[in-house]
């Protein structure tokens, strides 16, 4: 137990780094700030995780596996429950989004910070392509394959642009900039992921249908 699991301070460093990196980006945070906020010496992050970039990677990787498993299981679940023709577009997108509510459900602020960190990386021209691909491409391709099956007449190009739009809307949601709070005068809240997904699912599903052949419903 004591050997295998990292020390308590080690996890506290990851938690604090997660929060600060999500808020200010990689370059906007110093190792000293992390150490101070975690209540440990400046040298401890280096001891546990090596260089600053290694620490960043450790934070980014930490929850990725669990998140991917959760989303994939949601996809498999809706595929099993669906009939021969497979799940609908709405069901697939739902499986893509709902697992992200884990932050709200568990009340774990760490998950909220992590999702904001994903938004930071995904939107960054410098980090974006490489880091996201490495950890999330496999899963994303599963979802796109499911969507392709639900929209058999779709052209590949249209399918990818639709996913891009969905991904962008999701990214801005995860970033939690508070912008919609101000714009809407408080009627919408950035932190309310459930409301965001309740709107994003029908919103993007309609988009997919329009651009990727809406014959699905008419045929039945």
């Amino acid at each position: 137990m004591s050997r295998k699991s990292p020390s308590e301070k080690s996890e506290r460093i990851l938690d604090v780094a997660e929060e600060l990196f999500a808020m200010h980006g990689y370059d906007g945070v110093t190792v000293r700030q992390i150490a101070n906020k975690a209540g440990v010496d400046v040298a401890l992050p280096s001891y546990h995780f090596g260089k600053k970039l290694d620490l960043f990677n450790a934070v980014f990787k930490r929850r990725a596996v669990e998140l991917n498993e959760s989303r994939l299981s949601a996809l498999r679940n809706c595929q099993n429950n669906a009939g021969e023709e497979g799940p609908t577009v709405e069901q697939i997108i739902e499986a893509f989004l709902r697992p992200l509510e884990i932050a709200q459900e568990t009340g774990d602020q760490g998950w909220t910070n992590y999702l904001a960190l994903i938004a930071y990386v995904n939107n960054s021209p410098y980090w974006g392509r490489k880091m996201m691909s490495k950890l999330f491409d496999k899963l994303v391709r599963e979802f796109i394959a499911a969507l392709r099956k639900a929209l058999p007449e779709a052209r590949d190009e249209d399918l990818y642009w639709c996913y891009h739009n969905l991904s962008g809307a999701l990214t801005l949601t995860l970033a939690q900039t508070g912008r919609i709070d101000k714009l809407s005068g408080g009627k919408c809240r950035s932190s309310d992921f459930e409301a965001a997904y309740d709107h994003l699912i029908p919103f993007s599903a309609a988009g997919f249908r329009v651009l990727c052949g809406a014959t699905e419903v008419a045929e039945n």
Copy 2:
């Protein structure tokens, strides 16, 4: 001429700062990097623009007025061309997006960098709310008002969430992370704004209609 317009090097500093800030964010760029790439002394940015943060603000403000005017004129244009009932959702979104193709049309790389900088700011939890509001809220509210008129049965809450989704998809497009290039195996290109908008306009219009009362078409 010489007094009023800033010197040639002064503009070069802004151009380089724009490019680097868009790529690496505020904290990911040093004043020295900017000066080196611009081919000027380290002290010159401070002389012309003051503190580093003032330089960042100068870059962010520089093209904002022109961009806002261009978008507002596109909105007024489609409003004037439309009949009594006003423009359609598609026409409004088109007016919101097409002016952003100015970068491709003029071949000015500076505009591409600037749009990526907007994406960086808009997606940043720290900078996002304040900086975006200051420069773009007035315009955004014009567009939302036009959309409200085109969708008279819409609940305010739904309208704002729909705009949020549109804004997110646009933001990821402007960021130009190259992620869709890799995902699609080259079938889609991040740099092809025209293709992005050709897809985003019907995509988001369908979303607006589904969530904000689709009776518009059925009634006519």
